[in-house]
Amino acid sequence: MKKLFFSVLATLIMGIGSIASAQQLTGLQIMKENDKQFDFKTEVSDMTMELINSSNKKRSRTVERFSMKDDAGLLSTLIKFLQPADVKGSGFLSVENSKDDETRYLYLPALRKSRRISTGEDSDSFMGSDFTYEDIDEMVMEDYSFKLIGSETINGTDCHKVEAVPSNEERKKISGYSKSIYYVSKDNFIVNKVDFYDKHGELFKILKGTNIKAVPGTTNFYRAYTLTMENLKTKHKTILSYSNIHINTDVDEEMFSVRMLERGN
């Protein structure tokens, strides 16, 4: 899992004070401004994932997440499950070896050993949610063409509409989407909403970011503390609620090892 959660967050957040006036920016420039929010060394947070099906039945998962980037920008992530009880103690480790390759392990306490798992596809679901790995991975700007296509007000915020379309054959092949529309605030360049279109060009998922605020202890990092992804076809919904976000706090490199994956919470 490359760049866990960061692509989505990247589209929802901007670096305050780091941009020129909106009139001068292209779609690509707007998206690149968001990317600066993820120039961190470490990030730690708690997250609750709520899965809601079409019958309004809810299931939730609570995890703690640790992330670290090395000097080459390669990301390692450790996720430990805290709730519910039947998955408590389980863990997930992802270590990026290159931009195209990573190592993943799953730890299940009942088995008392870690299991190497395959990297799967970008369009695979992440942790059984409405998010795919493509949604949560950091977006590679070179793989898309961006186009500013207009303006729209989202929840009272005046936003640019930026269309992102896979720009090369490989990305077109592995992506689950034919295009995505990002709604970026004209005031602070935070993306408030994303529309995802399937391979047939039909709108089928909508992501909304709310509760956006500066990360405590930082002056230039912002995060959307609530993300809601809705699948219009299945009427299934996933809500991610973050808390206790810390950026560039002390995290031992040893944390991203099978040793720590298997250690109890």
Binding site: L51, N53, K57, R59, S60, Q83, P84, A85, D86, K88, G89, N97, D101, T103, A110, L111, R112, K113, R115, R116, I117, S118, T119, G120, E121, S123, D124, S125, G128, S129, D130, T132, G176, K205, N231, T234, H236, S257, V258, R259, R263, G264, N265
Partner: protein, 423 residues
Amino acid sequence: MKTIKIILALFSICLYHLAFSQDKYSISGFAELDHISFLKEKDNKINSRNQGILQLDVASNFSSKYSFFSSIEFRNDLSDETRDRVYVDELYMDLFFKKWDLRVGKQIISWGKADGFNPMNTLSPTDYSDVLDTEDEDIGIFALNGKFYLGSMELQLVYSTLFTSSLLPSGTSRWQVGTESTVNIQGSNYNTIYNINVSKPVDKLSSSQFAIKLSQQFNNLDFSLAYFNGYNHIPQLIQSVGTIDNTANTAEINIEQKYYRHQVISGDFSLALGKYIFKGEGSLFIPQDIPVDDQYFQYVVGLDRTFSNVIADNNLFVIIQWMHEITNNGISYAGRDFNHLFQKNIMCRLEMDLSSSTTLSLQGMYAIEYEDYYIRPELTYNISDGLNLSLLADLLGGNDDKGGLFSGYSDNGRVQAKLKYSF
């Protein structure tokens, strides 16, 4: 009874501490209720069972330098009292250092990368009192277990002074191996009188067991090599004829259940090939001090893959594995010998999420040599977070003339309902 009192006393101490420092300890576990009905009734055997299991795990969190863990299982089988138990599954202390960890106490050590059958898993025995229900039934051993970390390399050393055997089916169990009522000796038939003698290693230093495992991780490959010098958890049955009484027309048959010492040289690997995981493990068993056995090699190789869609409602997980045993000098072992169960078997498991709360799985195994099979369909419904209801069936059958495991127990097909609440 003494053991139970000690366990309850230990548990009371833990609860006492919990009352005063809840943030430093955590209690978790599960409660499980099972009903099992066998499809064919047998005389003098248990034809249906109800059981309840309560497992309590207590873990400490008060230091990054050390921690404690204990797991106690209470099991009450209303039909089979021999399966009742209050059991300390694990009770150990962890010490954490910069480059190594040490675990001391009763612990389950699980080795091997294959699914379901692990020839490399030589350290911890298993509760086979219900042969079809061995999930979460590993038994802890008292051991010193050290792990040393050198970058992506790990060296594990295990030392155990006390032998712990696997639990085998009792006399009332439908899994008890049958004994013949008569025997033919030199052309005459005699009624049999069985004398069973269990020969376990004595608790002394010379009975110590030890193991070493070296593991290495690469970007797409994990592998390890291991050596074990200790006892087999499952006994070899050595049969001999004792006193023959021509007047009473009886013959004593002596059966020695011998837990013999052996050396095991093992290796395993797990290789990521894009969307697939290719893995395997193998062990060379070198028995010692036993007259009727010889070296043998068991291995498993397999492939798994997850197929996923956008909301994971139809995720499909597939495993296929080949299990094989190679014997020395063409020795052929009985198909129902617990030490040689999987001689030429193919196993497949499919697991599919039918919805966000319902999972259907199908596991099957076919023994080529013995022409018999085992099939387990299972439907699991997540009632709420932590509460799951499972309905499953175990179906066994095949060519009984071949003497295989599954055909031999074809009358033990059954259905089961399981309600499990994790907390």
